[in-house]
């Protein structure tokens, strides 16, 4: 477990030393929020009479930031493999589980740090925040972040080119995010879309994240939709972490 912590620490340290990564990951969602929020506000205003679109869209943007930061943090796995760092770790007396957990924890922390910054913009969207809510949101973001870092890890473990990874993940991630209820609500979408959204793990991440901006912890636990989404999200995270560990464990001899 100690080894996992060392690897996670290194991951964060590398992130801090490459400020362009931070800039890029924050600038993109900000622009999305600003341009898309302003652009769509007019067309959606009938359906969302009480909520102004910028506010509806805000949790979606936080989720986008979280997803992309989590997924793309695992690009460093490919870099580590190509640069040779990974082989050194794999011949060290470190459990295979620690190798996976270290990378996942590091990726999650990086994603959490970026979305954490964004959480403080909530008042701009007209959402009031307090300490309980921030702590709750950080917990939820950690759960979601870990799950999608794991998904990135599983794909990255098999690839040897960062460009290829970028291409694959952009094609996979953008639709997953678009069809999660981040941009428009699940209710009222065409029924085939509703089905796609039902099987999209990001949909459930979107539910727990959005609810957490509005309800207190006790209200959340009483909310059946939230609890169901929480169980799906936790299951997804467990599955992805286990999958990552499995990839590392079976890799000898490749």
């Amino acid at each position: 477990m100690n080894a996992a912590w060392i690897l996670a620490h290194r991951e964060v340290m590398r992130f801090i030393r490459q400020p362009t990564r931070l800039f890029g990951s924050l600038a993109q969602p900000l622009m999305f929020w600003f341009f898309m929020g302003s652009g769509f506000a007019g067309s959606f205003s009938d359906g969302l009479s009480e909520q102004d679109y910028a506010e509806f869209f805000y949790p979606g943007i936080v989720l986008m930031l979280l997803l992309f930061a989590a997924i793309f943090s695992t690009i460093t796995l490919i870099e580590d493999r190509n640069a040779g760092f990974l082989q050194g770790v794999l011949v060290a007396p470190v459990s295979r589980l620690s190798v996976a957990l270290g990378k996942l924890a590091g990726g999650t922390l990086i994603a959490l740090f970026q979305s954490g910054i964004f959480l403080f913009l909530a008042p701009l969207a007209g959402i009031d925040i307090d300490l309980t809510m921030i702590l709750l949101l950080i917990g939820i973001c950690a759960l979601i972040g870990m799950g999608f870092t794991g998904m990135g890890f599983i794909v990255a473990w098999k690839l040897d080119s960062t460009a290829g990874y970028h291409a694959v993940m952009s094609v996979v991630m953008l639709p997953m995010w678009l069809l999660s209820g981040a941009l428009f609500p699940v209710e009222g979408a065409a029924s085939w879309l509703e089905w796609v959204m039902f099987f999209n793990p990001v949909t459930y991440a979107m539910v727990i994240l959005r609810q957490a901006f509005y309800l207190t912890p006790s209200q959340l636990l009483a909310d059946a939709e939230f609890v169901r989404a929480l169980i799906v999200s936790a299951g997804w995270t467990v599955l992805m972490v286990a999958g990552s560990a499995w990839m590392v464990a079976r890799s000898r001899g490749a």
């Binding site: 290194r10 030393r17 040779g84 060290a92 007396p93 000898r252």
Partner: protein, 317 residues
């Protein structure tokens, strides 16, 4: 088993799985090799001879298809974790994090090997001094020269005081000065023979520095012995004659003087023993000889003797 044997390799074969278009490739074919505690063993062979595959197996990075390997009593297949604890590894490709400093790389690696902080601090300082990099501890690895980062790798591998140091062509890509320097350090850090070293190389002068040389060719181990003994077996000296038709000359010399030669790269190589008269060779064949060299046998000659090819491939084949 001999108690001195630290690494025992028996009947080791490995075939890389093929794909639909490429058939599998048999990289190792039944290698048997015992490595004694404290010795320096060099694996010598051209590219594709199986050196790297053998070392990948030893580092636990690759599970061989056939054969048994035991390291310090632990089975490599059944208990890779116990093997890893005994190893320090320097790979052919760099294994350092370029974005971290020299000190941070050592620090992270030491912690991964479960070293205590106080010991890690002392050992880092000591090793960086030994490899002449004490003043570079706060520089990022990215900013170091090739030779320097190789020395950091060496320090990193030796940090947890491994019983065995494995180096896969550690000096590949270095200029001759940096190579000499690396080997000088390696010999100093062998610690009076307490450390067992397994190093692969395709360079004769590097292999000559080892206690024993195992020559690999197309996945098979041809011979393994003290480099001096290997060279002695070839006689006192090697006479190399270049001429227009080496095959014809080989036959003529054999008929006239009973000498057995080998033609390699259009030159005739003849091992000389004390009683062969060079004057006689010159008297009989002077007009056909374009140039003539006499030298002590090198490991290249040993390789030729066993394979009929030059290790450092000539310009023509």
């Amino acid at each position: 088993m001999d108690p001195q044997v630290l690494i025992s390799i028996s009947k080791l074969s490995h075939t890389y799985a093929g794909t639909r278009k490429n058939p599998g490739r048999e990289a190792l074919k039944g290698v048997d090799l015992d490595i004694a505690s404290g010795e320096m063993l060099a694996l010598l062979g051209p590219n594709g001879s199986g050196k790297s595959t053998l070392l990948r197996v030893l580092t636990t990075a690759l599970v061989p298809t056939v054969g048994a390997v035991r390291v310090g009593g632990a089975s490599l297949q059944q208990n890779p974790a116990a093997v890893r604890r005994q190893l320090g590894v320097v790979f052919q490709n760099p294994a350092l994090d370029g974005k971290m400093t020299v000190g941070e790389n050592l620090w992270a690696s030491g912690l991964l090997y479960g070293m205590g902080r106080a010991l890690l601090r002392d050992r880092s300082r000591q090793l960086l001094q030994a490899v002449d990099l004490a003043d570079r501890v706060d520089e990022r690895v990215d900013s170091l020269s090739g030779g320097m980062s190789r020395r950091v790798e060496l320090a990193k591998a030796l940090l947890p005081e491994p019983a065995i140091l494995i180096l896969d062509e550690p000096t590949a890509g270095l200029d001759p000065v940096a190579r000499q320097e690396f080997w000088r350090l390696l010999e100093t850090l062998r610690d009076g023979g307490r450390l067992t070293v397994v190093v692969s190389t395709h360079l004769l002068d590097e292999a000559d520095r080892a206690d024993r040389v195992a020559i690999l060719h197309e996945g098979q181990m041809l011979v393994c012995d003290d480099p001096k003994a290997l060279r002695r077996q070839l006689g006192q000296e090697i006479l190399t004659l270049s001429c227009d038709d080496a095959e014809a000359l080989k036959g003529e010399i054999n008929r006239a003087m009973g000498l057995e030669g080998i033609v390699v790269d259009q030159a005739l190589r003849i091992p000389l023993d004390g009683d062969v008269s060079l004057d006689e060779v010159l008297r009989l064949f002077r007009p056909k000889i374009r140039s003539l060299t006499i030298a002590h046998p090198s490991l290249d000659d040993v390789f030729i003797r066993h394979t009929g090819e030059r290790l450092l491939g000539g310009f023509t084949n």
